[in-house]
């Protein structure tokens, strides 16, 4: 399992995934060779799965982002699968999350403007199957987006 050195290494790595291993080794206070060895082991164990390059949609002209909280009609056992499969086909949907709680599914939807959003919402979202209720939260600002873990 992981020890304190592994956690320290990951803490420094997640703060800046692009830094050279030499810099990482120094920050974590590890010899270079053992730093390489630990990184390899963490990758082999699947603790480090890779890295993602998220797109800044605002820079591409998609200035509207809306979080749609969807409640499904669960009397139909296929509701979840059919809804998710159809939602994946909508290009403006950039993320899908499922929940245990008040909300069943959340869709992140982007659009170039409010009229464009309205068009997407009416033509592609409201036509998705098995929707019982939808609530919208419009994104105003992202205050924190580190998604780093408290290791």
């Amino acid at each position: 399992m992981l020890n304190d050195l592994d956690r320290r290494l990951l803490r420094h790595l997640q703060a800046d995934p692009d830094q050279p291993v030499s810099q990482l080794a120094e920050a974590a206070g590890l010899p270079l060779a053992s730093c390489y060895k630990r990184l390899e082991r963490l990758q082999a164990q699947g603790v480090i799965k890779g890295s993602r390059a998220a797109i800044n949609w605002a820079a591409l002209g998609y200035s509207v982002e809306v979080s749609l909280r969807v409640t499904l009609d669960k009397t139909d056992p296929r509701a979840f699968d059919e809804f998710l499969a159809a939602a994946r086909e909508v290009p403006e949907v950039i993320a899908i999350q499922t929940f245990l709680g008040v909300v069943d599914v959340r869709l992140s939807v982007i659009a170039q403007s409010m009229p464009h959003y309205q068009e997407v919402y009416r033509a592609r979202i409201l036509t998705l199957p098995h929707i019982a209720d939808i609530e919208a939260l419009m994104q105003v600002a992202t205050i924190k987006e580190a998604q780093s873990l408290p290791l």
Binding site: P17, I48, R52, I55, P91, A95, Q97, P150
Partner: protein, 152 residues
């Protein structure tokens, strides 16, 4: 705002899937030479199209068994400054993202915890004690998928 052609979009699709690829490999996949791919990636980066690369860690292997999304409504609007709330909530290590939203909640928080008792501790000691916090709704994340978006 930057204009993209089909090749730029193809490059972005490749990079969304794996951010560790070298320019030569990205070029090979979209049919460009290494220098041509490198120039395009540089241009995309300079236009701010890509957010800083994020490490993809296995939460469960690191002992974080639950992710919870909280919808937070501020109780005393106008009395407590948004800045005070934002400063305090941003400083909580278990809070991964904070989004200011418009709708039935004021803020949306993403929280990681080891398990449900650990989440309860964070909720009681850290969240419910925030300045101005009112109604809170919690939803436990079951699954999450990121889609390529309108790059097709």
């Amino acid at each position: 705002m930057i204009d993209l052609d089909d090749t730029d979009r193809a490059i972005l699709r490749v990079m969304q899937g794996d951010a560790t690829l070298k320019a030569s490999e990205i070029g090979r996949r979209v049919g460009l030479s290494q220098p041509a791919a490198w120039r395009r990636i540089k241009r995309l980066n300079e236009a701010g199209v890509l957010k800083p690369r994020q490490l993809d860690l296995d939460l469960e292997k690191l002992g974080f068994g639950v992710t919870v999304f909280l919808g937070v409504k501020l109780a005393t609007k106008g009395r407590v400054s948004l800045e005070d709330f934002e400063r305090a909530v941003t400083a909580i290590p278990e809070v991964q993202t904070v989004q200011h939203v418009l709708g039935m909640y004021d803020y949306r928080l993403r929280i990681v915890a080891r398990d449900l008792p650990d989440f309860e501790r964070v909720l009681r000691r850290r969240i419910m004690t925030l300045p101005g916090v009112g109604n809170v709704e919690a939803n436990v994340l079951l699954s999450e998928e990121h889609l390529p978006g309108p790059l097709g």
